[in-house]
Symmetry: C2
DNA sequence: TTTAGCACTCCGGGAGGAAGAGTGCCAGCC
DNA sequence: GGCTGGCACTCTTCCTCCCGGAGTGCTAAA
């Protein structure tokens, strides 16, 4: 499949390109006459029809019914995106707009909100941004505060003063002094280390040196383990869901409902975004490619964003399959870079 | 107006009631024949028509067009809700379901999520619950953690171990010992007091005794003030927005979009909910009564929920004007009580 | 290889008509 | 005076039919 059409004639490529352009703009099936005009070459509709027929044979376009022009198929979009598309960099004005918006003094959480707002605002589709992962943040310190009964509040400070708290339930009551000792011990041991590494060390230590640990160390270890355990919960932020209601191809209450439900559920979307974390660079799911029915008529363009070379999360845009990929891709790309940069200034 | 029809004949009331019942069930304009059958009395459609004509005159019902039966107006619903409705308590099975769901060990935030989920699940409409106000929580203790530069992390523990943190920026660097001193001072001074009261005392002290304070006290006061300052942000949680897509009367993309946008915006909804905080008991906005265009075809049934007699927030249901008020009201009512109770167990 | 011509197909919209639902009003009945 | 049957009228909804437009595929010729 991958190399059975390495030599799709230039003219056919040009036509596919032109057809997609046109279809993206109008949302109407494109006929041979229209295409002939758009193309600018001096070809008659009849000629165009022949080539279109070839393109249909190859599965790049299809017609909704006998007399209705052609529409790109998923494979058509795929070919277009993979080999026809030349992504031009985003114009500097838009870049400045994004940079400006993200340069305001904001917490990481707010930055992420801004980014998704920007994505949806600029593209008029739905923006989505995962919260930055803490997995590889640096352990700075941990403090334990005794609460009532056998509950302890753990405060974990990471990286450049990101704070998380966890409520722990301990088996026995600990005095403030004990807790202080435990945190001192942990802080001395782990300060400046990568959280994932801390966790690994922790597990290892608890297995290997269990017998030789005194009870304070043991307590400290167990509590630290509890603190880090919950550290993997992922989440994302969305904006502009309702923008999707403006696209006729999605104007079906049933489909739309399934889509919105999936947005609220978060699970499936999260799973999809997860798949994009490790594809360094732009990742695109077109229509059914995502594997989720509710996204059958949608595409998703994503890019990971990173700080200091470490991937922190993913952001992207969800819209109808018929979207202006060459416009969306640079937007997503730029936003990812600029969000990374903005987060870096924080850290 | 209010007493020009104190004496709407019983039969007319019965008919209005019956008509609304029917309309709520079917969503179709109700004709005289149908109503005659529903009513059970031995009256001919012609008689019914006469009374309907009166009800129309009074503004309680109206007909979409000449030959289409009648539909309740907002005033019709209002009259129904205010004087015709007898709210029967919720059946014990549903109550148990709610109680059970809310009795799981959850944080207040999770409880609120559960409550809105329950509201939307049971009613098949949209559930909304404000987060419990912290304004009158009890001050338990505060801790300050020095971070880098001149930033300090303040941890405020209230009530029964609710934790909030705030990042403070202080003018000068404080040593850990100073911070410890400050928190000791504040904890000794305010433990067990109401947050609002703490705030008031704080402001008062800072004005009155400024000159006689030593710098440590001053610092402590200022930081405490900063901590409490941000304590008023309100927010709510929604569930089941998409349920509204199942109602034909809302199946207009434009209206639906405006509605969903308002849900995401939060501002207007929050404002509406705010109005319901102090109406002790069920509050109902029918159609345009809310004053917001996007809710013109919707109604909202709310009830405040409280802990120990102190109102903590509001919850409610948003659905089409044509909703089964006598079913929804007890659900909202019961959920409010049970949420209050569940939060009380926490506190 | 390209093109003009032609027959064919299918969608969309408008016209027309029939059926159904409901109304208002009137005249008669209890 | 209230209730009822009857009747004419209105308005929506749905179906069908039909036509025009758009676009196709095929063929034959340049």
């Amino acid at each position: 499949m991958s190399d059975s059409q390495p030599e799709l004639p230039d003219r056919a490529q040009l036509m596919l390109r032109s057809l997609i352009d046109r279809y993206v703009r109008d949302g109407q099936p494109v006929g041979s006459r229209t295409l002939a005009r758009d193309l600018g070459l001096d070809l008659s509709p009849a000629t165009i029809r022949n080539v279109m027929s070839d393109l249909e044979e190859l599965g790049f376009i299809s017609s909704p019914h006998t007399s209705a022009g052609r529409v790109p198929t998923v494979q058509g979009y795929r070919f277009f995106v993979d080999t026809l598309l030349k992504v031009q960099p985003l114009d500097s004005r838009s870049i400045e707009q994004i940079r400006l918006e993200l340069s305001l003094d904001q917490s990481p959480k707010d930055l992420v909100e801004s980014a998704s707002g920007l994505l949806s605002g600029i593209t008029q589709m739905t923006g989505v941004v995962t919260l930055p992962s803490h997995e590889h943040a640096l352990f700075k310190r941990v403090e334990f505060l005794p609460l009532s009964e056998n509950r302890v509040l753990a405060i974990l400070v990471t990286g450049e003063d990101e704070v998380q708290n966890r409520m722990l339930r301990t088996e026995k009551l600990h005095s403030p002094a004990e807790l202080q000792q435990a945190s001192n011990y942990l802080n001395a041991m782990f300060a400046g280390k990568d959280l994932a590494e801390v966790r690994a060390t922790l597990l290892h230590e608890m297995q290997e040196t269990r017998s030789s640990m005194n009870s304070m160390m043991m307590t400290a270890m167990q509590m630290a383990d509890q603190v880090l355990e919950l550290n993997k919960d992922e989440d994302f932020v969305m904006a502009g869901q309702t923008n999707l209601m403006e696209f006729q191809e999605l104007c079906d209450f049933d489909k739309l409902r399934k889509l919105f439900d999936a947005f609220n559920q978060k699970r499936d979307i999260l799973h999809l975004l997860d798949q994009c974390v490790h594809s360094d660079g732009i990742q695109i799911f077109i229509g059914e490619e995502s594997g989720y029915k509710m996204l059958d008529e949608c595409s998703m363009v994503t890019a990971p964003y990173s700080v200091n070379g470490e991937v922190m999360g993913v952001l992207g845009v969800i819209g109808p399959t018929r979207m202006a990929y060459e416009r969306v891709i640079p937007i997503v790309d730029a936003t990812a870079r600029l969000l990374g940069a903005a987060l870096n200034h924080k850290e």
